[in-house]
Structures are given as C-alpha cells and as structure tokens.
Amino acid sequence: MDRDIKISIRNLYKIFGPIPDVALAYVRRGMGKAELLEKHNHVLGLQDINVDMREGEITVIMGLSGSGKSTLIRHLNRLIEPTAGEIEVDGKNVLNFDEDGLRKLRREQMSMVFQKFALLPHKTVLENAGMALLVRGHTVRDFEDEAKKWLARVGLEGNENQYPHQLSGGMQQRVGIARALASNSPVMLMDEAFSALDPLIRSDMQDLLLELQEELKKTVVFITHDLDEALKLADHLVILKDGHIVQQGEPQEILMQPNDPYITDFISDINRARVLRVRSVMEKTTEPPADCAGDISDRDNLESVIARSEGDTDLVYRVVKKGNQVGILEMKELVKALVPVDASEGDNRSRY
C-alpha cells in the first residue's frame, strides 16, 4: 500500500453558472447545494475534493447520478476546467499546463474509456484501436501491429476490419479498452465504462480489467454507480454525494466502518459474504488457535469460508498469508460480520 501517489487532487471546487467565483465565496462560507441553486442560481458540481490516487491502483469513484463523479473524472484531463483547486499528476499541476502541455498530457499520460464507447463510426476497429497513435501522427501501417496486439489481448482477434456498428455493445467497449491500452499511457480514466452493458457481459469485462491490471499495473480511475462493481474493482474507494466526498478508503474498511447513514443505506443491500474478505473480519494474532479446522487465505471471501465450514459455527480457522499465520477466524465472528452495521436502520429502509 506504499505506492507513489500518481494523481493528487487538492481542494477542488467546480461551480456551474455565470459567475462561479462569487458563488465559490458563498460555498466556502458554508452554503449548501440546494441553497446555492435557489438563491444564486449556480449549480454546485464539486465541493472540496481531496483524493490521492496511487500508482498501479484502481481508484473507484462511486456515487449516484448527479453526484458529480463524471464531472470529477473530466477534471483530471481538463475536459472541464475547475473553479478552484489543484490537480497534480506526477507532482506537476495540470492547471498550469498551456495548450501544448495539455495536449501532450492527453496524448501520452492519460487515456479514456467512455460509457457510450464513443468510437469513430466511419473507421474500422483497427483504426479505432490505433486512434491515440493516429493522433500522434503515426500512419495505419505504423501502428497496425500494436493495435492488433491489444485487440487480440481484449479478445477481438479477427474483427480488425469490421466497423463498430457491426459489433455488439460488449465488443465495442472492448475496442474502447484496446484503444485506451494502445495509447500506452500510464493513467486510464474509465467513465462508467461498463454501465451500458448487460450484467453478464459487465461481469466479463470487470474480470478482463482485473486481469489486465494484474499484468499492466496502470493507474486506473474508474467511475461507477454500481456498488458491487465498485467493491469488486476498487483498491481505493471514494464515495461521492452531491458533489462532496462522504467517505474514502479501502473498500473493506468502508464496509466494516461506514461513517455516514448514506453509506449504511447504500451497503445494506449488498451480499456481504461475497464482498467481505477474511482479513477484514479476522482477529489478528500469530498464536495458533486451540482446535484448528484448517487454513484459509486472508484474501478469501466469507462465502467460500461458509461453504467450507458447511454452516458449522463452532469452527475456528487459521488465517494464512504467504505461508505465515496472520490471524484466526472464528465462524461466530464471521456470522456476526454478515449483519450490516446499523442494521436496524438499514432494515427499515430496505423494507419501504
């Protein structure tokens, strides 16, 4: 967890309206989103955002529609200009870049995958995949091998000469991912990349992303409104609501210690056994348990442990990480952890 910080967002504000600077002063003095809209007719897009995104990690920004997540990701490559704040990439403030610097950043540092794919309909799959290289001035012959390699990597071998409209949605998004990978940029921005796909294909694509990430170790910023997707992908989870960050941290931590009723509400519906991992609920100790029922990995999810115990709550397991014991897990603790924190509240809401 001690990787270098790749992207750092400091005190970022975005206000939409004719005179954002004036509105910013009100917001800094504590005016809320609704009041600002009613009294001054400005929309508060983002409010005091501070996030560090580490190199080689997947940072997931989650929120419902209107929470400002798409606005936030567009600040990273300045498709949207902030009202105030700083965005640093490799220690350099992106906001100080001139047009050339910004273009260089977009061409070489960051690639982007879009919710609606945004492929060029009049170009072949191959040309689309090589778009980043085409933009840099290479010819099709130059990048043909590179683009083919990435298309093959995302499972689109043999589709090179088709047009986007001949492919299904899932395949089109694979082209979108190949396009981002072929640019060979260290940062990948994914704006609700899988939201337009049906659930089965979405799950496939998530696996593909994790698999690629294992290999390529890019810095991925992923936007989603789907909590299951967020928990599956995230190394670092940021939860946005109405333009401000409600909680951020390791996803397991957020599940175990939600600090806001909004999040409690959010997580009350998920399958905790599948999402929670042994390391989050185990008792940390190096002493071996009295009667050990077996070894489990700290990365196993609770579902697999329950399956293994066959429902017997008297068992105690030894938790092992890389061959060494890091803790013990009593099945009773595991069962307790399955009940959401603040359960009463969560129950009431889920039953309306």
């Binding site: 498709l79 977009r106 960051m110 982007m112 309909p121 933009v135």
Partner: protein, 344 residues
Amino acid sequence: MATYDFVFSSLGLEDWCSDGQSDAPMSMAALLQKTKGTDAEAESLWDLPFPSMDALNDSCAAFPKSRELTKGLEEGFLSIKDSLSVVLDPLTQPLSWFLDGTLYGMLNTPWWIVIPALLAVVFVVTKSWKLVGFVAGSLILLAFIDYYQYAMETLSIIFVCAFLCVLLGVPIGIAMSRSDMMQRLTIPVLDMLQTLPPFVYLIPLIFLFSVTESKLYGIAIILYAIVPVIRLTNLGIRLVDKDVIEAADAFGMTSQQKLFKVQIPLALPNIMAGVNQTIMMSLAMVVIASLVSAPGLGVLVLQGIRNLELGVGLVAGLGIVILAVILDRVTKASLARINASQKQ
C-alpha cells in the same frame, strides 16, 4: 383641398409646401381626376386615404412621392454601380471563364465521349448498374430528339455552379458551426436569399454586369443555390455526437485533426444532403436564368412561351424533369452509400 392639408397648415409649413409647387407635367391619376371633375370635396370618412407619401404629396407639393423613394434607390445604385463594378468585375471574371470554358468543353467534345464519360461518373459515385442504365436511356432519348446540345448546356452550368456552391458553401458552413456569432450573423442573410423571389436576384445583377456575360447568370444561380449546402454543413457539424467529440478531445486531437478526421466525415451525410438540394436548386434557377441569356433547356421553354410553340416548351420542360430526376437519383444514391458506410 386635399385630405391632409390641415397637417401642414397646423405645423405652419405652408410656405415650404408652396415652394415645392412646380409646373411639372400632371400625373395620369391627377389628369384623370381632373377630367372626371369629381373633386375631393365630397369626402366621407369611408374614403379616408391612408396618410401615405402620395396622399401627403397631394396636400403639400414639397413632400416627396413614393416613386421618388424608389427612384432615389435607383439613382443611388447607379451612382455606386461603376465603382462597384470596378471591384466586382475582376473578382467574378474567373466565373465567366469557368462557365464559358466548361460550356465550350462539353459542347465541343463529341457525344460518343461525353455520354460514356457521364455514365462512368454515375457508376463511380453510385455503383449501381440500374441507375447507369436509366441515365443512358434518358440521355439517348434527349439526344434522339435533338435536345442533346441544350441538355448539355444546362448540365455544364449546373456542374460549374454546384461545384462553386460546395467550394464556397462548405467553408462558410464550417465557420458557422464553430462560432455562434457567425451563425447569428449568417442566418438572416441565408433566410433572405432563400425567400427572395428568384427574379429579384436578376435585377441588381443586370445593372452591374452586361447581359452578354455568363457570370451574370452564374452569380444568380450560385446565390440562389448555395443556401442549403451552407445550412446543412453547419447543421451536420453541430449534430456530430458529443461523446465522439469528447473522445477526440480526450485523446488530444488538435482542432484541425478534429475537424478533418471526425467532424467533417461524420457530417458528410448531412453535407451530401445539402449538395443534393443545391444541385436541384441550381436546376430550378438555370431555367429562370435563361431570361438573362443563360443557354440550355430554359431557352427552349422561353421560346415556347414567346412564340407560342407549345410543343417546344412542353418537350423542353419534360427534358428538365428528366435532368432533375437523373441528378436527384444519382446524388441520392451516392448519399445512401455514404450513409450505409456510417450507420452507428
């Protein structure tokens, strides 16, 4: 004695009015009234004339008549005409050369080269043998009834004018799509060009250029036909999917790359629809422009009207319809091909 005398007397302007009293010859209307002997005395409210320029002139001779307004416009135009011609003449001269050259080329190339060449063009843009057959049949029919020369004249004028419309119209449309200010300024001009009756274009042009010059009808046709290609280029570029534009930005395209690699290719179906409209409007105008010496089938229509040669006029009209159908089908077929390669 006239209705609005009181206006001038109450304003104390009688002196100024009587200054304007002249011995100019009477107007026909005044003369008629005088001979009829009915004076303006028997006025009822029912006959109250609107206080127009002419009515006020009745009361006060110094007040200008409305004809003097239009006359002033004429004189003003005539006085700037010479200096305007000095600027416009050399600017538009290439248009004359272009038109004359194309006409000369089309008419002096033997028919057994021109017809196959046209058919080849049709095949290249539409890739449809059916359409090639249709065009071949139409051209042979026109040639058989000795309308070949007129049809080729009309076609050459349309080719030149439509080509120039695209050459000028697409860049104007692009400029409009990139700046809202430009769009606000251009749209009223386009609206005016589109609603002015076609004959009205000819009036100032006849003053500016001599009727023997081919650029006279060239300009009239271009002004009339350029509107759709400008409008649809602008519209097409503005309608390009915002997501795709955003992707182009996100991958660091320069605005030039964006224009040539994304916006224009994606706007092409709309631009081609504009070109189709432009060609059809050129055809409409080339017939009217035969009034100012544009050669082609329009001349025959005119001849039909003037000499009451019913058959000549009708057959020439039919020839125009055939040309219209050919041009429309061919441009639509090529448009369909572009659409097919781009559907999302």
